[in-house]
Symmetry: C2
Subunit: 209 residues, 2 copies
């Protein structure tokens, strides 16, 4: 099967809507994060080389390198979410007819659940980074396309809050509470201040329109 | 040229990031709105037919009809944003060497600016509707996929706030202030309460995980 990112936007939306379990919200979160990074790149690409913005040229070059790396990472996460979900479903399908099988199956589920926690946690981290990059685009980017920086911050925020939900679900089923709590603490640190930052950046964009 | 929705997700992201003016934030907003509607459909499709959810079967059927119609509308808006932008750019490229040309060009720009206000306003309206539908999915949908309703609300919210920015830009350049103010009033009505609704729905999803 083709990777989701190779499918058309229309087919991606069809598959998202369908009763197939994947792609689901985790992939949608990664797509939103990737849209955020892409829009920051767009602002950079429409600022770089303009005489009026010569003063921020090197800042925009540096920002573009970061946003493009982040976009690549987030685009990869569209598939990562599907892969780990499929892996988890495969574990749930393992035989459980006797005690030994039950023990093996349960241990395997717990191992994959940790992975299924880390995938959306990485996505949340990347989306928080996307929000941060959209602030620089807002501060220094071409005023003619500043609304795109505003869309970037909203897409990053939606991706972050969406990824967080998948961390909550998977940590909820983890028996290793030390691991679960450590990851939840990491998530809270990532989420901390994101609401305020997003609102600040959005209002700054609005004031520049 | 192919419509954006027929292009792969990866190519869409490449074009979003590029220095081409379209697709930009307006198309990204429509894609986020369409993702929201798609995820509400997914929750419906994974609730309908389950004996455990027989009681909400007809509600979910009705919700699915609404979310699928909304998804189609929002998917169409990906292209509508590009089309109206191209039309506006064509106006700016009209000759303006004498007074008559200047008058014709300016009138044409003002006409298309009204259209360029209505396109994101329609997108904002559709995204607000997507938020509303995600609440029903949250209230009544299969608990096993309720996080997808949470992603639906965040995607709808990001689409709404993003589309709003494009309404602000285009009304800003309109000379017909009566029209501009009427559309800004409509937008405020659409935005009114969206923050609170989104937070409520998100927290309800979180409490059900």
């Amino acid at each position: 099967m083709n990777e989701i990112k190779e499918k058309s936007v229309a087919v991606f939306l069809d598959e998202l809507a369908s009763k197939a379990a994947t792609p689901g919200g985790g992939s949608a979160a990664a797509v939103m994060g990737a849209q955020s990074a892409a829009l920051t790149s767009m602002v950079c690409n429409l600022t770089i080389g303009k005489p009026k913005y010569a003063e921020v040229e090197s800042d925009m070059q540096a920002l573009l390198a970061q946003s493009e790396a982040l976009r690549e990472k987030l685009t990869g996460m569209i598939k990562a979410d599907v892969d780990v979900f499929d892996k988890l479903m495969a574990c749930y399908g393992m035989p459980k007819q006797n005690e030994q099988e039950k023990t093996v199956r349960s241990a395997q589920i717990q191992t994959v659940l940790k992975e299924a926690t880390l995938v959306p946690l990485e996505c949340a981290k990347a989306c928080a980074e996307a929000i941060k990059l959209s602030r620089t685009a807002t501060d220094k980017g071409n005023l003619g396309v500043i609304s795109d920086a505003g869309v970037a911050v909203m897409a990053g925020y939606a991706g972050l809050k969406s990824a967080a939900l998948n961390v909550y679900i998977n940590t909820g089923s983890l028996k290793d509470r030390e691991f679960a709590n450590a990851k939840l603490t990491e998530l809270e640190e990532i989420l901390n201040g994101a609401d305020v930052s997003t609102e600040e950046i959005y209002q700054q964009v609005k004031s520049k329109l």
